[in-house]
Amino acid sequence: MLKLIKQRWLDQPLDNRFESIRFSMAIVISLIVTLVLVLLVSNEPLFALQQLFLGPLASIRKFGNVIESMIPLTFLGLSVAIMFSARQFNLGSSGALFLGGTVTAVVVLTLPLPGFVLSVVAILLGAFTGGLVTLIPAFIKLRFGASELVSSLMMNFIALNLGFFIILNYYRDPQAGSLASFEFPSSSLLVQLIPGTRIHTGLLLLFIMIVLIYLFIQKTKWGYALRMTGFNKSFATYSGISTGAVILYSQFLGGILAGMAGSVEMLGMYDRFRWQAMPTYAFDGVIVAVLAKNKPQYIPLAAFVLSYIRIGADTMSVNSDVSFQVIAIIQGLIIIMIAANAFLAKYRQRLVVQEAITND
């Protein structure tokens, strides 16, 4: 049995083997660091660890929290992954999410449409708005050669202020205590999917999008052009691929997904616009995409892991004496270890040497 597993393992291409090892090593090291940190800071380390790792499983509501927060994380992960696959370093996903959510709120508060149609229209327009937020930096890059990284960060700033401006001036409910819009028509809200949790039908839309994006990137000619442009733009240009179009549609699609995240979040989790600041998703999409190595099929898994750790950390910080910040450290560690290409490079070299010798 063990032998069989070993053989299977060795039949894998070297890079896959290396990737899996790197991924597991990162997780294992992070776990060890977690243990050490918790042992150091806590008076009740066992209880704290139990909260951290099993807390999310304690109740259906808790586990529901994991799935709820996984939904926007997955959307954002897909958003970033599609842009990064084309090697477009657009960080406008959070702005796209915010403005997408805002437009969705505006639509349900304004358009006199029947319930289901209204949510569909609101989500579509929100997604489209998100697309525009990330498309603008793409356009600026093509036209003027400015880096999309910088202009997308500026777009985030613009999107945030534009969103607040609209809600504050036109849709603010003066009756509500804090900054909030009027209440959404209840028929426009996304239906609860699992009783006892807040998991909503946005999850279904998410599954559809995962499949679509996977097919788009891996199985269509546009996805092919996008991947080749990401691998090597000179090669794509030389081959006659229209890299300008790739730059535009990859970032437009990325924004659409982020906008959709905002829309779904707005109608699935809230009954009015209640965001007080940019939701904390700013770099979450990047984290998820990096964890999943930009592969759409792994994005939900990465989002789940991240979401699980966070809910666990939340539970731990509420119930024990270890604070949430500990988790921020651990999260950072995992990311650095997975993202840094130099990590384990020595080990990779050894694998290569071994393979070279055994092939002789």
Partner: protein, 517 residues
């Protein structure tokens, strides 16, 4: 004489898994000129990079003057008195010759400022000492490749090199420049310097070296006194088989022209002509060679022909259409294929699979698409056939291109570019840096395409490649065509050298013979 350098059982694996040195023994005596020969990809450069501290050996021992050493970086090697002139060296174009020579240990005025005068004096002094003809005050971008190479040698000497490694120094030189280089090398030897001379040109090896070490596919296949071994014997040690040199090529039967280039020009930002009003025809069923010292307009010509760059004047008539302002996609659709000069940066996406690399000019074809989705099974079957037809050595078409050797990567490029039966092929350095087997395979493919009626432009820095493979040729110098020969069998390398250096040029009437109806 004792050994100044001894390398024992050098073993080197690159991160991509290629074994470049397979337990190589190599030693050099003080004061000799030692030739290191082997086909492209044999591992010569790698061995020398280990000696010079650029690469680290995976295992193996290096002795310098009998002492076990290991250079972690080139600075340590330089300190030990070793210098290296790279195959593709880097220089700062806007600086003077003198500034380049002293680069790295510049004489300083007031501690910060470069002492220009002293730099020039130092350079003049060292050039005088070794009898190098060079003007220290000249700006580098005005120097020929031959001069630039001398600068590299002087730089090594200036830093106190006793052992100088020259990596294929003659590859970029004309026959005349090569002679001059050899005179200078002999001078260095008389002054007690040790020279390691890498080449795969056996005439040169016989002419200049005292001893020769041969490498073949990462292994050392012998060290001999040059006197005691014939060229044939060396070549057998290099290639492993006899008679692999020959090319089976029948006479060309050129037909009407398919591309007519008329007054084509390209300017740089300073509005200088890089390509200066050139005119010629490419005929069906003919391989037209382009020779010239690198940087005389060949790249610009290839770029405009293939659509990578736009011409600033003139026209390129292809099947009755001016393609000088057309998109790459359109030009390719019309039946033009392109083997780019630099396969790694342009010819392939190294992270992508072989299949994906083969597909890049076909992916939007109807036969590979099934509605909105790619027809993966027909793509896979097609890619598998290409891998087989072009004998690409790999475990699977799904392997990443970066896992392949140089020759196999080039075969991927060629397989892609030739699989649509192109009418025109622009082949830019199609066999640079690949093993002889792959090179010969590609040459035969080019000739096969020619015999099927394709028109081929073969641009190469390797004179012997052009002389062997092409039917007719022209010479470029400073952006112009300076000579046209309608039959390569009537030209010698020496003669071409004079045109390449600009010493001689044909008159306009003779050059115009290259324009056909």
């Amino acid at each position: 004489m004792p050994d100044i350098i001894t390398m024992k059982q050098m073993y080197k694996v690159y991160p991509n898994g290629i074994v470049a040195n397979d337990y190589v023994d190599f030693s050099v005596k003080e004061g000799e000129i030692h030739a290191l020969v082997g086909e492209n990809g044999a591992g010569k450069t790698t061995l020398m990079k280990i000696l010079f501290g650029i690469e680290q050996a995976t295992t193996g021992e290096l002795y310098h003057n009998g002492q076990l050493v290991s250079f972690q970086n080139p600075q340590e090697a330089i300190k030990a008195g070793i210098g290296m002139v790279h195959q593709h060296f880097m220089q700062v174009g806007s600086m003077t010759v003198a500034e380049n020579v002293v680069l790295g240990s510049e004489p300083k005025k007031y501690r910060f400022l470069l002492d220009r005068k002293k730099a020039i004096d130092d350079t003049a002094e060292i050039a005088e000492k070794y009898k190098f003809k060079i003007d220290p005050a000249m700006r580098l971008d005005e120097c020929s490749v031959g001069t630039r190479q001398k600068i590299e040698i002087l730089k090594a000497l200036f830093h106190g090199a006793k052992v100088i490694i020259l990596d294929e120094p003659t590859a970029v030189l004309t026959p005349q420049e090569t002679e001059e280089l050899f005179r200078e090398l002999k001078g260095l030897k008389e002054r007690g310097h040790t020279i390691i001379f890498i080449s795969h040109k056996l005439n040169e090896v016989k002419e200049i070296s005292d001893r020769v070490t041969v490498m073949r596919s990462a292994k050392q296949t012998g060290t001999y006194d040059t006197e005691s071994i014939s060229k044939e014997e060396i070549s057998n040690l290099m290639v492993g088989r006899e008679g692999l040199w020959e090319l089976t090529k029948g006479k060309a039967t050129p037909n009407e022209s398919i591309i007519t280039v008329n007054n084509l020009s390209v300017m740089d930002e300073q509005r200088r002509y890089l390509l200066d009003h050139i005119s010629f025809s490419m005929r069906k069923g003919e391989i037209l060679g382009v020779v010239g010292v690198e940087g005389n307009g060949q790249r610009e010509l290839v770029d405009v022909l293939t659509g990578l760059n736009k011409a600033s004047g003139g026209s390129i008539m292809f099947k009755g259409e001016d393609i000088s302002k057309q998109s790459i996609h359109h030009i390719r659709e019309m039946g033009l294929s392109h083997i780019p000069e630099d396969r790694m940066t342009m010819g392939v996406a190294t992270e992508a699979s072989i299949t994906d690399n083969l597909l890049s000019i076909y992916f939007d074809k109807e036969s590979f698409n099934n509605g909105v989705l790619l027809d993966q099974s027909s793509i896979d079957a097609w890619a598998k056939d290409r891998v087989k037809e072009y004998a690409i050595k790999t475990k699977s078409p799904n392997a990443q291109v970066r896992s392949l050797s140089g020759g196999n990567i080039q075969k991927v490029v060629v397989a892609r570019e030739f699989s649509n039966n192109p009418d025109v092929v622009i082949a830019d350095q199609p066999t640079r840096g690949i093993d002889v087997g792959a090179a010969q395979f590609i040459h035969n493919k080019l000739i096969e395409l020619r015999d099927q009626g394709a028109s081929i432009l073969l641009v190469s820095a390797d004179l012997s490649e052009v002389l062997d493979v092409s039917d007719s040729l022209f010479v470029m110098y400073e952006g112009k065509i300076v000579a046209y020969f309608d039959d390569v069998t009537n030209v010698s390398a020496m003669e071409l050298g004079r045109f390449m250096l600009g010493i001689e040029a044909q008159d306009e009437e003779q050059i115009k013979r290259g324009i056909y109806a």
